[in-house]
């Protein structure tokens, strides 16, 4: 009975799995105990029977021998019973262990299944003959077929390359595993999914190959992601490249600008107290360039002019403390030639995240020449202002002198004229006709000189008159002047062609004087023509400037003497031909020049003359002129003659 039970136990527990080995070991022990008990029992029985036979043969069987036999049987039975008990006990404890292992196995199986199902990768088991034996949910999804449809079908038929798929699992069978075996799944709808297979054999407890366990990895998304990553990488590379180029360019520009401007750039690391200099810094300081472009703060300090050092250091410390920007000016003693140079420095403190100044970056510029030039310019300006003041004084003196002389000349002229007249009146009977003619000459010459003096006075006065520009309606002004002058020339045939003339910007009485003198000249010099023709208008000059012109058909002039047109008292015609003092055009020139314009003339003897003039009237100048403070007094009070 014991044997049967043990046999069924063995049969029941017999398995090739690892977990069964423990039970197997126990079983062997039980059997050993059991068989030991049976053998011991038999040995004792045989030994007892042999003793009994031996004793009976020698006739020594007595009550003692009987009791020996009984005792031996008893001992054998007890021993046998003991061994059976042990075997039974052992069998019971084995059964307990087994039932515990079975429940663990069950849990583990569930766990594994869940794990397999939870896996996003399609998992599949394939039998050695290539049939699908199990799939997970991911496989169902990727193939588009239900589990029932998949199970038992040929593994390779779900791939675009069935041959390759077959090769794959066959290689697993032959080599034990494959890694990253590339295949493409075609699903129920024909959609393709690139996968990588990793597969290995699985065996039973006895080591017999049961099939292939294959895990696919969907490469489509990975490929997409890889593609995206690749694209992102490319974009990043491109951006880095662009940014690098931009930075390089910016840096180059900065370098070139700094180079061209002779600006030195420095970067002071406050913590290490080292300063990085660019090559211009070394040139500014007249020092040989250090190999790494670095130098210590102390080294910089040693170049600064001792008188400027305290202020500079204090200022630098302030920059460090405040984290800001500063502009400084100080002197250095240039290392190469011991020359004192003036440096302008601008710098900015760069703070680290804790708000403390970590670096100060700045520029140095040698402004010695600039300062020198500014000084020179200032000195020259001073000189110029002094000279201008002197000149103005001289001009005023000259004006005063001219005025005074002219003024004093008038009185004797009046006397000459007056007394000639008195002689003429009081002594008329005593003077013959020739005498009267001669007195007439004296008087007319005196009057002419009076006019000369008046013109000279007007000319001199002009220098002291203020320019007070206003908008002047040139066309009506020219017409009015012409009408006034024409009225004095009764009986003459004078025709005016007046074109449209835009307004100008000037000092009205002065510009009126210009028109008066020019129109009077035109009338005067056409005096010998039967018909006087005067044309007034504007034309466009160089760079679009407006040029006023007045053209006549009069006597004209020889262009060889054009340079003498505008000189004071300078005339191109004699007084008998055309009376005049030679001041008119000089006056015109002075007025136009004081307005910043130009005046010139063109002519041909006997064929008339044309006079041109410009008055700059750009908007800019207008506003500038209007901004000038106008004097309260219409005349200059300084240097007035008495």
């Amino acid at each position: 009975m014991g044997i049967l039970k043990s046999k069924s136990l063995v049969k029941e527990l017999s398995s090739c799995g690892k977990k069964a080995s423990f039970l197997k070991l126990n079983e062997h022990r039980n059997l050993l105990v059991f068989f030991s008990a049976v053998i011991s029992f038999n040995i004792i029985v045989i030994w007892s029977q042999w003793r009994y036979l031996h004793a009976s043969q020698q006739g020594a069987i007595g009550p003692l021998h009987e009791s020996h036999l009984i005792l031996a049987s008893l001992i054998g039975s007890v021993l046998c019973l003991f061994l059976v008990v042990i075997a039974l006990f052992s069998a019971i404890s084995s059964k307990k262990v087994r039932s515990r292992s079975e429940s663990t196995l069950h849990e583990m199986s569930n766990y594994s299944r869940s794990l397999i199902e939870a896996n996003l990768d399609p998992l599949v088991t394939i039998s050695p003959d290539g049939k699908i034996t199990d799939v997970n949910q991911a496989t169902i999804q990727v193939t588009g077929y239900p589990r029932e449809k998949l199970l038992g079908t040929e593994f390779p038929i779900y791939f675009t390359e069935p041959k390759k798929a077959r090769e794959g699992y066959q290689r697993v069978l032959s080599e034990g595993q494959v890694r990253d075996f590339s295949l493409t799944i075609r699903d129920a709808t024909g959609h393709l999914t690139d996968v990588l297979y990793n597969a290995a054999l699985y065996r039973d407890d006895c080591g017999k190959v049961q099939g292939v366990f294959a895990s696919a990895r969907d490469m489509t998304r990975r490929k997409l992601v890889e593609k995206e990553i690749l694209q992102l990488n490319l974009d990043l590379q491109k951006r880095v490249m662009e940014r690098t180029i931009a930075l390089t360019e910016a840096n180059e520009r900065l370098q070139m600008a700094a180079e061209a401007a002779h600006i030195g750039i420095w970067d002071w690391d406050v913590t290490s107290n080292l300063i990085r200099w660019d090559s211009w810094m070394f040139r500014i300081y007249g020092m040989p360039e250090s190999s790494n472009g670095m130098l210590s703060y102390a080294e910089w300090r040693s170049n600064v002019h001792p008188d400027d050092l305290p202020i500079q250091e204090a200022s630098l410390l302030e920059t460090v403390a405040k984290v800001g920007t500063q502009q400084r000016q100080f002197r250095i003693i240039r290392r190469s030639d011991k020359a004192t140079r003036i440096i302008r420095s601008s710098d900015a403190a760069i703070a680290s995240s804790d708000g403390k100044t970590r670096r100060i970056v700045g520029i140095n510029l040698d402004i010695t020449e600039t300062v020198g030039r500014a000084e020179e310019v200032r000195r020259l300006n001073e000189q110029l202002a002094k000279r201008a003041a002197e000149l103005e004084f001289l001009v005023n003196e000259l004006d005063a002198f001219t005025y005074s002389v002219s003024h004093d000349l008038r009185a004797p002229l009046r006397a000459i004229d007056g007394f000639s007249r008195i002689v003429e009146e009081d002594y008329a009977p005593k003077i013959d006709n020739e005498g009267k003619r001669l007195i007439g000459v004296i008087r007319s010459e005196a009057k002419r000189m009076g006019r000369l003096i008046d013109d000279l006075l007007a000319f001199s006065r002009l220098g002291r008159q203020q320019i007070e520009p206003k908008i002047i309606e040139m066309e009506p002004m020219a017409l009015q002047v012409f009408d006034e002058l024409k009225a004095l020339e009764a009986g003459r045939d004078i025709r005016l062609i007046l074109h449209q003339i835009p307004p100008a910007f000037g000092t009205e009485p002065m510009i009126r004087q210009v028109w008066t003198n020019l129109i009077a000249n035109a009338i005067k010099f056409t005096g010998k023509k039967e018909k006087s023709e005067i044309e007034i208008g504007t034309t466009e000059g160089k760079e679009g400037e407006r040029v006023y012109f007045i053209k006549d058909n009069g006597a004209g002039f020889d262009m060889r003497f054009v340079s003498k047109l505008f000189g004071v008292f300078s005339r191109l015609h004699n007084a008998e031909e055309f009376p005049g003092t030679g001041v008119g055009l000089a006056l015109v020139q002075r007025i136009i020049m004081r307005h910043g314009g130009r005046v010139w003339g063109e002519g041909k003897v006997g064929q008339g003359a044309t006079f041109y003039f410009t008055i700059p009237d750009s908007k800019k100048q207008n506003t500038e002129l209007q901004r000038l403070p106008l004097p309260d007094q219409p005349i200059n009070e300084t240097n007035k003659p008495r």
Partner: protein
């Protein structure tokens, strides 16, 4: 000098101009009593009866023809003195000068001149100017009541 009415007081340093002015006035039969003084100080002494003229008993002139450019005390200073005195303040004063400087003109009016005549070089124009001044100030114009101080 007796206590006669002075028609015109001419203050002029240039004898020729003075002669021409007096002749113009007389030829026009405008003034008989013309006093000619040769500098500014003399004019002040005359009008305030001081110095050489302390014994003068005449009245103030009907009009003063005053040159600006005068020795010692110039015309504008004379004008200033006369206009700052209550008595001489009301005497009509005509500036008769060669000066065309605008500052002279304006200052003259500011100091209280009644008229400003620029002497023309041309004698005929000069004659006409003087005659018109005489006609206006001695005949046409009604002068303030001018009395002697004594």
């Amino acid at each position: 000098m007796n206590q006669e009415t002075t028609d015109v007081l001419l203050v002029e340093d240039n004898p020729n101009d003075a002669l021409l002015a007096i002749r113009s006035l007389k030829d026009s039969n405008l003034a008989n009593a013309i006093v000619h003084l040769k500098d500014g100080q003399e004019a002040i002494d005359y009008l305030f009866r001081q110095g050489t003229y302390s014994a003068r008993k005449g009245l103030l002139p009907k009009v003063i023809l005053l040159d600006l450019k005068l020795p010692k005390v110039n015309g504008l200073e004379v004008l200033k003195v006369l206009r700052s005195n209550k008595e001489t303040k009301i005497v009509p004063i005509v500036i008769l000068t060669s000066s065309q400087v605008e500052s002279d003109l304006i200052e003259s009016y500011q100091l209280g001149a009644n008229s400003y005549i620029v002497k023309p070089v041309d004698y005929e124009k000069f004659f006409k100017s003087i005659r018109e001044v005489g006609l206006y100030w001695l005949i046409l114009n009604k002068p303030p009541i001018v009395k002697g101080t004594s």
